[in-house]
């Protein structure tokens, strides 16, 4: 009997923990941003000079924002924080947020927002398909849809604007930078992200084109590590054990670059600023930029999560009764080099 009671208590406690977890999760990023020096704060701070005119118009603009869950990645966390810090009452917005990594749940949230009668629907879709009918509903209800971060397979007339990253451009920037390094030969270990994801396809394409075009560019090994640090480390270890020569690691995100560096460290191979191997990562995690600053890595390409300001611009354009042109806005994205990076860059752009 005692044990049964214990069992009940335990499970109740666990369920309570779960509930607490769920309940708190939604507000968590906001807490975080204020409690600690989150990068999003800085990003917002940067743009604070822009005049705050929407608040002056008196009436709050009602927006519904559907995003992927912040636990998806560091990039997403930064993205969520940026949006939550921007779309506030002080800036003239009455914003509601919903998060899910599942398309069907997101569609349900969209329907909910349509019923709530929001003015704008901001959407970062989990999946590309299945949005036509719900976006049509929104259009019929007079709700303006703006896509951010991710595009969808739907007719352009269904949304007013789209703010996305060009993954290939990010890759191209890194490849161009690499070409400037003036090595006689580029022997590259290419660690790919989850096959088929937009970031993987874009960043791979940029590198592959260059390798195909230049004789002095070779790929020593090309494997997918599914964005995972551990897998990347094991793969690079395998290449090192094989005894193949290489002088570049092109990892499609920071975590995999970090795993690769761990493997280099274990094998006693130098890397970074004065090392034998050039290390390239993407996404600009704060710790990654710190590594670049410390000269352990050579380059980190940005995938810009700070889309709030651009979204705000689009909304203002639409409020003024103008068309958004061009309809698709590509985010401005930077690349950071170990030679030129500053502490300020780390603080500003690190996510």
């Amino acid at each position: 009997m005692k044990k049964k009671f214990l069992g009940v208590v335990l499970s109740v406690a666990m369920v309570a923990t779960l509930l607490a977890g769920c309940g708190k999760k939604e507000e968590a990023p906001a807490d975080d941003a204020t409690a600690t020096e989150a990068p999003a704060d800085d990003a917002a701070g940067d743009d604070a000079e822009t005049p705050d005119d929407s608040a002056a118009s008196g009436k709050l603009i009602k927006v519904g924002i559907i995003n992927n869950d912040p636990s998806e990645s560091g990039y997403r966390t930064a993205n969520v924080n940026d949006l939550q810090n921007w779309f506030t009452e002080e800036k003239g917005y009455d914003a509601s947020f919903e998060y899910s990594l599942k398309n069907d749940e997101q569609i349900k949230f969209a329907q909910k927002f349509i019923q709530d009668g929001v003015d704008y629907l901001l959407l970062s879709a989990a999946g590309t398909a299945g949005w036509d009918s719900v976006l049509k509903e929104a259009q019929d209800a007079g709700i303006k849809v703006i896509l951010f971060d991710r595009t969808i397979d739907a007719d352009e007339s269904l949304y007013e604007g789209s703010i996305v990253s060009d993954m290939k451009a990010e890759g191209q920037k890194a490849v161009d930078w690499l070409a400037e390094q003036g090595k006689d030969e580029y022997n590259i270990i290419h660690i790919q992200g989850e096959m088929g994801s937009a970031a993987q396809v874009g960043r791979t394409e940029a590198l592959q084109e260059k390798v195909d075009a230049e004789d002095s560019w070779n790929i020593v090994a090309q494997q997918t590590a599914d964005w995972d640090e551990g897998k990347a480390q094991q793969q690079v270890e395998a290449v090192i054990n094989k005894g193949d020569d290489f002088n570049v690691i092109y990892a499609e995100n920071d975590n995999m670059a970090k795993g690769a560096v761990a493997a280099l460290d274990k094998a006693g191979i130098t890397h970074g600023k004065d090392g034998d191997v050039i290390v390239i990562g993407f996404d600009c995690n704060k710790w990654a930029l710190e590594s670049v600053l410390a000269g352990e890595w050579n380059y980190d390409g940005q995938c810009n999560p700070f889309q709030a300001e651009l979204l705000d611009d689009v909304i203002k354009t639409l409020e003024a009764g103008e068309e958004v042109d061009p309809k698709v806005v590509i985010m401005d994205e930077k690349g950071f080099d170990c030679e030129t990076i500053t502490q300020e860059d780390v603080d500003t752009y690190g996510i």
């Binding site: 636990s71 560091g74 975590n255 995690n285």
Partner: protein, 350 residues
């Protein structure tokens, strides 16, 4: 001869030998060991080291998974998620409220114990659902499988953390003056502790008895509920240890969605490769552990061969199917009866 084939260890060892043979033929240099330098100390490097190093988490999880499988006749699929949670908690305790702490906020022992407590609580939660409420293990553990990673990210407010601390790195890399990776040493310690537990307690006998026939076990004075519960608790401890190793390997950079992703499937596969019935009952701990290293051996072999990335999962699947099929009891019986026929033309069968 037929006894060898009947032995449960035959399959995982045969699979291991097969992989060894393949690599010997294709590239003998695969087995080369060389000396490297890490942090001023000389260490061993090479594919074999890579295998025993990176297979450690899996081997540790396989220990717990074997017990859970034997006692409850089902599997815990929340292992990857709870491992993320344990790792996240350890990192949280270590970092305090900084994202890249210069000094540790708490000692690593305290952090590990807190992580252990959380993992044990998760195990207790799963165990309570399975043992007290008689819910199918896969269904019961589905709850934490779904929620675990969200809780893990909530623990650290979704933050990007890095803990650059030399001592914290010991667990995933090397201890000073020791040429063998620490994860392997930890795995060996876990294996020894489990071996001692099996030798000096009746854990093995009771767990198997409960898994085979719960009614009989109860009528012989064993408490089946308790045994199932205990197996989940032990798995919880294994999860915490594996979580510590992996968090240390990654210096606290936990991507909540991808940390130890699908490791539960590999752990279950290790149990199956060891020839242990997934429906519970008899188990062979050594076979499961060898099974875990076979999986890692396969992974490293595929990496070393530089298999086309799109085809990697397919290769792995094919090899796994072959291994699982030859480890199926019916196939084993066929093989052993075949050799019996070949060796002894006529023998009395009782």
């Amino acid at each position: 001869m037929s006894k060898i084939f009947k032995n449960q260890l035959f399959i995982p060892i045969a699979a291991l030998l097969l992989l060894v043979l393949f690599n010997l033929i294709v590239d003998p240099a695969f087995f080369a060991l060389s000396k490297g330098v890490y942090d001023g100390d000389s260490i061993l490097t090479g594919n074999l080291i890579s295998i025993i190093d990176n297979g450690s988490e899996l081997a540790i999880l396989a220990i717990g998974m074997t017990l859970v499988t034997a006692a409850s006749g089902g599997q815990d699929i929340s292992v990857g998620a709870t491992m993320t949670l344990a790792g996240s908690v350890i990192v949280k305790v270590l970092r305090g409220s900084e994202t890249s702490p210069v000094t540790l906020h708490q000692s690593i022992i305290v952090a590990f114990l807190v992580g252990c407590l959380v993992a044990i609580l998760c195990g207790a939660f799963n165990g309570a659902l399975v043992a007290f409420f008689k819910i199918q293990p896969m269904v019961a553990t589905l709850i934490l499988f779904t929620a675990g990673r969200s809780i893990a990210s909530w623990v650290n407010n979704n933050q990007n953390i890095i803990i650059k601390d030399e001592k914290f790195k010991y667990f995933g890399y090397y201890l000073p003056k020791i040429p063998i990776p620490t994860p392997f040493i930890i795995a060996i310690i876990c294996i020894i502790i489990m071996a001692l537990l099996l030798k000096f307690t009746t854990l093995g006998l009771y767990t198997q008895a409960v898994g085979i026939n719960e009614n009989s076990s109860r009528l012989n004075g064993i408490n089946p509920t308790l045994m199932k519960f205990v197996s989940f608790i032990i798995l919880g401890v294994c999860v915490a240890v594996a979580g510590l190793i992996k968090a240390s390997r990654q210096e606290g950079t936990i991507s909540y969605g991808g940390f130890a992703k699908y490791i539960e499937m590999d752990a279950i596969l290790a149990v199956a490769l060891g020839g242990n019935p997934l429906g519970g009952g008899k188990f062979n701990m050594a076979a499961s552990i060898i099974g875990a290293y076979v999986i890692q051996f396969l992974t490293i072999t595929l990496y070393a061969r530089g298999v086309n990335p799109e085809a990697l999962p397919a290769y792995k699947a094919v090899v796994v199917i072959i291994l699982v099929v030859i480890s199926a009891p019916t196939v084993r019986d066929k093989i052993s009866s075949l050799t019996k026929k070949l060796r002894v033309p006529k023998k009395e069968v009782c």
